[in-house]
């Protein structure tokens, strides 16, 4: 599985079936190495992964991320192995605990996320799978922001997938993870040269994250202050987290992640207007091909 080339995430919950498949075709043709599928409270990520893998030829599909509170560990393990057997070497299982208040608001339990994740990984590893096995076990990466979860990712999984983390902190993560673990870095991008418009668009988008405790804690751990976190984020925070501007600026930010030690970078293309569909100008401008 070669992850060196740029990857991309699609918010499939706002796309129709046809739009989802067209997006997958487009990003495969443009040379992206991985198409990442999120899970919130809409589409099932395993269903989408299977659907998109069937519609494409070689692109890898990864989950960013599957929510561990929604299904038993053995069910997650079985779903990942089912897909890996159907599509050899084309599936990555990204797992995450999401954020407490968001889970509870949606009727899921949330307690001791690091311990839970540790047991969950063990449950996946030892869970029954009485069906033809994939030739290779699918790689598992954890969404890790804070030290304990990062350590668990380094110890008990194949690596870490980041969120809202600037290149300077990717370098620190690489040191903690050592050279052999996967480090997959997320970078949000917005093709918008006008600073006021760009930042307003980012703020509308960031509100969710700035209210979520794990992100708040991580922003503070990365040196942002309480002031930075207010009102959808200070200019300093917004500019550090989201690469907005022209193509060159976005390319530089992506290159900075690789230089800091990321094995793979994936972009999330946003628009200042908060459009339902991804900005295909950006998708094309950043295309590896």
């Amino acid at each position: 599985m070669n992850l060196k080339k740029l990857g991309i995430l699609g918010y499939f919950d706002t796309m129709s079936n046809t739009e989802s498949v067209e997006f997958a075709h487009a990003v495969e043709k443009l040379g992206y190495s991985v198409l990442w599928v999120p899970e919130t409270f809409g589409r099932d990520p395993f269903v989408m992964a299977t659907h998109l893998l069937g519609a494409t030829k070689e692109i890898v599909i990864g989950t960013a991320i599957v929510n561990v509170w929604k299904r038993e560990a053995m069910a997650t393990g079985a779903a990942a192995r089912t897909i890996a057997e159907l599509f050899e070497d084309r599936f990555i299982l990204g797992l995450g605990v999401s954020a407490g208040p968001f889970m509870i608001r949606n009727g899921l339990k949330y307690a001791k996320p690091v311990t839970f994740m540790r047991e969950y990984l063990a449950g996946i590893k030892t869970g029954p799978f009485k069906a033809p096995l994939p030739r290779h076990e699918p790689p598992i990466v954890l969404a890790g922001l804070l030290p304990k979860m990062l350590r668990l990712g380094a110890e008990a999984s194949d690596g870490i997938i980041t969120a809202l983390m600037p290149p300077a902190h990717i370098a620190r993560l690489r040191v903690e993870l050592g050279p052999n673990k996967l480090l997959l870095a997320q970078q949000m991008v917005m093709m918008e040269r006008d600073a006021a418009r760009a930042r307003a668009g980012v703020r509308a988008f960031m509100r969710f994250y700035l209210n979520a405790p794990p992100y708040q804690r991580n922003f503070k751990a990365m040196g942002f202050s309480d002031d930075d976190l207010r009102g959808g984020g200070s200019d300093h925070l917004v500019d550090s987290i989201i690469a907005w501007g022209d193509e060159r600026h976005m390319q530089e930010r992506i290159a900075a992640h690789y230089a800091a030690g990321a094995d793979h970078v994936y972009v999330i293309p946003l628009t200042a207007a908060g459009d339902r569909l991804p900005d295909m100008r950006v998708v094309e401008a950043l295309a590896p091909h």
Binding site: G42, R43, D44, K70, E72, A79, P128
Partner: protein
């Protein structure tokens, strides 16, 4: 959804992914309306459903059944909605509680199955799917053997999917259910005219079920005694549960389910040679497209 008259079941975990897709294409070509497949402790039913639906063009795919102890109700609802939106009117969600010792042996909790299922269905109904909705609501059926679960199926779902229930008990079920609910009746079939061979293969197959408490209770409730359940099944039990013989015998049994009130019958084609791979001779012999 027009569920059609005759479906077929497949133990897909005994096949590779490629073989499962080939089986789906074959049963579609042969005119079966629904391919039912189980969830045990192998493949996940939702990626599997997508795989089978992608490989075919009009076949309905149904879980028979997806296990409610393995995922939250909100997850089950989301997965079913996702499949239903991708493949319009081609997915049936069969749900079941399976059997207690079997669950416990595999590390899942199992308690108060009827109340659990009742709450599970309510939670599924209350789930908001934050993504494009399917054009048609996904039909939900539940696996019910015993009276309380049957009542729940009648009250809260489209109907029931049976397991190892002979036609005369289907008639009783239809009377309880009223005329509008689905009864999807399972019928095991084995194209093997030799009684000795057929019953030996049937016993090897039934070994698992006859040691599972919900099946034991269901079989006892239908009037089978300890002697019938011992040693992997008496001749009487085997002959009533599994239609073995020539094509005519198999067809008569299917017809008996229809007369008793099943609106859909699905065959589970057993292989006289044993194992879980489908007896393809029976699948072909009973094919609706063959007339």
């Amino acid at each position: 959804m027009d569920i059609g008259a005759l479906g077929v079941f497949g133990y897909l975990d005994a096949m590779s992914g490629a073989q499962a897709a080939e089986y789906a294409r074959t049963v579609e070509r042969l005119g079966y309306s629904v391919l039912w497949f189980p969830e045990t402790f192998g493949r996940d039913p939702f990626p599997t459903a997508v795989h089978l639906l992608s490989a075919t063009t009009r076949l309905i795919v149904a879980t028979g059944i997806a296990n409610v102890w393995k995922r939250e109700a909100i997850t089950m609802a989301g997965s079913a909605s996702t499949v239903a939106e991708l493949f319009d009117d081609r997915f049936i969600l069969g749900l079941g509680v399976s059997g207690g010792p079997f669950m416990a042996r595999n590390g899942l909790r199992f308690e108060k199955p009827v109340s659990f299922m009742r709450e599970y269905l309510a939670k599924m109904k209350a789930t908001q799917h934050k993504a494009p909705s399917a054009r048609h609501e996904t039909p939900i059926v539940i696996a019910a053997l015993l009276p309380k679960m049957l009542r729940l199926a009648a009250e809260e779902t489209c109907g029931t999917v049976t397991a190892m229930i002979p036609p005369r008990h289907i008639a009783r079920m239809r009377a309880e259910f009223g005329p509008d609910k689905w009864i999807c009746a399972q019928q095991h079939v084995m194209l093997e005219p030799d009684a000795k061979k057929a019953r030996a293969a049937a016993r090897a197959f039934l070994h698992f079920y006859l040691s599972a408490p919900p099946y034991q209770r269901s079989l006892r409730a239908m009037g089978y005694g300890d002697d019938d359940l011992a040693n992997d099944g008496s001749d009487r039990l085997i002959d009533e549960i599994i239609a073995w013989g020539d094509e005519r015998v198999l067809r008569e049994r299917i017809e008996a389910h229809r007369k008793a009130g099943a609106n859909h019958v699905f065959i589970t084609p057993l292989n006289p040679a044993g194992g879980l791979l489908p007896g393809m001779a029976a699948v072909e012999a009973l094919a609706p497209a063959r007339g």
